[in-house]
Symmetry: D2
Subunit: 345 residues, 4 copies
């Protein structure tokens, strides 16, 4: 069986190195090219010491990838850079799985409002599919461009979709109180990610303006078949990996606990990467794995619903989900190369 030759464009960040970790152990894939603007010419194992002896490639310039005869591309680039790269690719190039935010929002105007930059690849955007397999699996095979979902949206949307799909909760006034480890802020050192200031700290950020807000609303809106409005409030957890989304919703009349549980069971019992839990999920129980752990309850005193989801932001929230999308693109079993159990403790 010949291996699929994949390239990772932008391999120096955290999503890039996590793709290397997962793809190096994928039985049907060969990592054929890794690119970096800043580190071209250096061995990948020098840039990511953890990957010494895991991958032997030398980083190359992104504009040389045509030399590598690639079958699929993962883009692990900053937003803006990503759509510029896509716009420059040939029409008949290999399929692309993009991990940036550039192709997740179908409406370029919404993109431009939240990202504060013009969209420069609207033709590609029109053909992009939103790669959240549990909700939109059917659209992924055959796609030329898969927009891999954001980390927070993956958790929030999987937590709420069974409710929204069935009209079990009101679609306005939804609250997503989410907490993420610091890898979500990227691999570049910044004052906000200076160790002594983050260690032992906890705080909210991005009040009223986080770019994952419209992505959550769009995905839930598609599931609901109607507009959905979400107050999304992120927080910075003093850990490396992990997202927990705690979601609050007002139920429609007559929701009872059994109906609530049945909805989650119907949607997720057969999903290989969603685990329904009997207690609130824990980020450490999914660390390093592609699992999304979900739990929901009806608080009978207040009549509100609480729905929880936990993921590893770099795996199910980024690189793992991208591999899951590759598997779907290639018509392989969806779990191929993703059977690593969580690293816990």
């Amino acid at each position: 069986m010949s291996l699929l030759r994949v390239g990772i464009i932008g391999a120096t960040g955290y999503t890039g190195s996590e793709l290397v970790r997962l793809l190096a152990a994928h039985p049907r894939v060969e990592i054929a090219a890794l690119t970096s603007r800043s580190e071209a010419g250096r061995p990948a194992g020098a840039v990511h010491p953890a990957l010494q002896d895991v991958v032997e490639l030398t980083l190359t310039e992104a504009d040389r990838i045509a030399d590598f005869d690639l079958d699929a591309l993962f883009l692990a680039l900053p937003h803006r850079t990503s759509m510029e790269f896509v716009a420059a690719q040939p029409q008949d190039g290999p399929p692309i799985i993009d991990l940036s935010g550039d192709f997740r929002l179908a409406d370029a105007a919404i993109y431009e409002a939240w990202y504060e930059t013009p969209h420069v690849a609207t033709a590609a955007l029109a053909g992009a599919v939103f790669g959240l397999p549990e909700l939109f699996r059917d659209r992924i095979p055959g796609a030329r461009l898969v927009a891999n979902p954001g980390c927070y949206p993956t958790a929030a949307v999987l937590a709420l979709a069974p409710l929204v799909r069935r009209g079990l909760v009101a679609t306005e006034g939804l609250v997503v109180d989410a907490k993420s480890g610091v890898t979500g802020a990227g691999a570049t050192a910044k004052p906000q990610t200076h160790f002594p200031d983050v260690f032992g700290d906890f705080r909210a950020y991005g009040v009223s303006r986080h770019r994952h807000t419209p992505e959550i609303e769009q995905a839930l809106g598609r599931v609901a078949g109607a507009g959905v409005q979400v107050l999304f409030q992120p927080h910075l957890l003093p850990v490396d990996r992990g997202i927990l989304a705690t979601c609050y919703a007002r139920p429609a009349a007559g929701l009872d606990p059994d109906r609530l549980q049945a909805a989650y069971h119907e949607d997720y019992a057969d999903e290989p990467f969603v685990r329904l839990r009997e207690a609130p999920p824990a980020t450490k129980h999914v660390r390093g794995s592609n699992f999304c752990d979900v739990h929901a309850v009806l608080d009978e005193r207040t009549g509100l619903v609480i729905a929880f989801a936990a993921i590893d932001n770099l795996v199910k929230g980024a690189a793992g989900q991208a591999v899951q999308n590759l598997n779907l693109l290639c018509d392989w079993p969806e779990t191929t190369g993703l059977n690593q159990g969580p690293l816990c403790p």
Copy 2:
């Protein structure tokens, strides 16, 4: 100036040792007795190695405190033990500041429903005052028994009180999504506090049944002059100290951002321990101090209000607030002995 002789009943837990830390540096207090059932006879500095050379006392049995001629008592006992102790004290004994949950809920029936145990000191309960000075300062001087508030209620109530007091938000459907460091779970090792399982983890707990729920509702209800219903959802932060409460509320008609800010300014501008922040507060900015940092915003897209409060759960959430209550009982400046700046970073 003679010093006030205080005793700490139950000095081996975290609130007990934190009281020692603060009271040892209090200029008008002498720590005259420390008690422990399990460690009586041992030097306090042997039980709490951090306190070697900070306090020189030997732990004694609680039933010997009459020998110590004490002017005030801090009870740092588990709930139930605390009310049994209070019930056994003479009527004319020294005033008591109780840090347990036993005297916080005015209605014994509510206490019994949430704590699942009969209340055995209802006479004392009838005279207890709820020691949250920023809201109920006038009631504290002269009290015989001060119920020191819980850590979560301190944060949640200070975050929401300016809104509730003025009817600026609906009093049902309030959500308090709170996150606490592990000292909140006490000094006794338990499977849920085993280091390798908590390190790097984050999870919710106590869904629908945390005992601080009725305490938050009672305090906000008094401020509102009407019933208040709160969904309180705690989470375990993988840090030692610190609470952040993120609170969500639906505003009454016509609330605008200026009115919101004015409410907080009116209530807190002159409070020595409440700091209004221009950005979401951070737990590390209050670590080791008696500050409660507060910030609130109106999210204009969704029309919801978000109110944040951060405290050190062992200081403003326990021992520091208890010292603040002592200062009020003694008619001393409220900040006496509480001028330690936050330990940050």
Copy 3:
């Protein structure tokens, strides 16, 4: 190809769950039995929530393992319990890889002195081999009982072996200053592993009496062909996983930096799990993997040698090395099932 049926005896601790994690992804193995005295009858995924959907077995009693037709056994039991189990096995039972300390010290008298208990399986002890493949690979195939090395000895011995083997350093006065994450203390909650006390803390422990001392001396002594004396000082790192050993030695006359580097290169260049580093190794660069990262230098000012080694204490220091030993026992490629890259960051 039929799968090898393995059992894990004592599957509720951390080495047990880590064996499950690794073996569940091993392409030539089927986990056929998991035992637990305390949790028999419960699904493994209920005891280890991280392993829900990773392993489907129900825990069983250890005395029922004869029913499972096992081809190999991993013992993840406390010391003492382990030798009692071994002593009770039939002579012709499946080969055993023991992860306790019971069969690591060839001399029962030394065992009894350090473990303060009589050795009750001296016959088995006589046939046990010390399963540190990089040093004693040839002895492992065909063994009936492999004593899987301790976590600290794995790091310390791999750091120092190239020097000791060649007589490049004095064999007395060796210092091993080692630091371990808290999983090394096991899965049972204890006061010393209570989260709030360990978080942000660092301290030494076990001065002059850690049981890994004679194990390090024995292994280095075999390599040296002479007695070796080591001062081993462990410290508790406030992290979940990871060991760093910093070793100090006085060189023999005439050692120069090139000779030093050549020794390490000769020993380790072809080892699949030892990575020679150009800078001091980091525990996070090996997290979750079976790598041991090594670096050594001659400090020219003082004339002393410093040798570093980093491992994940639960992988190369326990379960991963056990799988490596299984591969050797079965004459499979030594890296089978161990190709997971480090989880970093």
Copy 4:
């Protein structure tokens, strides 16, 4: 009683903010000026949010300090900047306590070799005293320039001085294996201090070239009255604060455990900030305090001595020791303003 007016030159870093924390609570001091090149004009509480309401000053330019009528200066500047500042001060200016490395090494040639820059204030250097009160207390009163010791040297020298002073150990071959929290690397974000990379990690750094090496040797050499050679190996602890130094030495003939303990007792029993411990010290037991906790043992098997010391690197290792030096300069009780107990847990 009039207050001493002090200025902190370079108040935006961690030692600067820690000086503010301590001096704001000092009963005989008024913080009269805070300077910053980069943040002049901003309120100190905006630059250090933790210090809002703790200090009310606005940061000013260092070259305006003559306007403030200061009685003493703390320099919390980078090395090089610090000696340039000192060289520019008038001869009759207020006394200076310098927290940089610029005046710690009496021999400018050694300074230049390790800091790789010419010394530009050799006249001032000639008059500087090394402000480690426990060893050199008598020289501090009346000094014009106190060189506040480095954090690692404070711990290492206090751990070893009682041995070296009495010739109880060999003065060559000393090993100091030290571990420091990340605040030791300063307040500026760097790739090496990026949270996700440090969290859960542990590694050595600065092999053979850390600038605290000659400072340790100089201080111990003065105590010994002879040359001392030290191998100093620092490590980066994934915590914010705290240093533990583990020191190894070969004893002189005939050292016995009683003689060892007596040496420490003689030197430290009356020291207000050195606590002799009966077990290895823990960094958390000194957090936020000016204590240095010390413990030493003779390992009878190997005949080596192990000496431990733990400090908070920002307090006894920097700002607290600077305040201690101020107290000595002013002939106040040495503990004035330094009676804060450790923040533990």
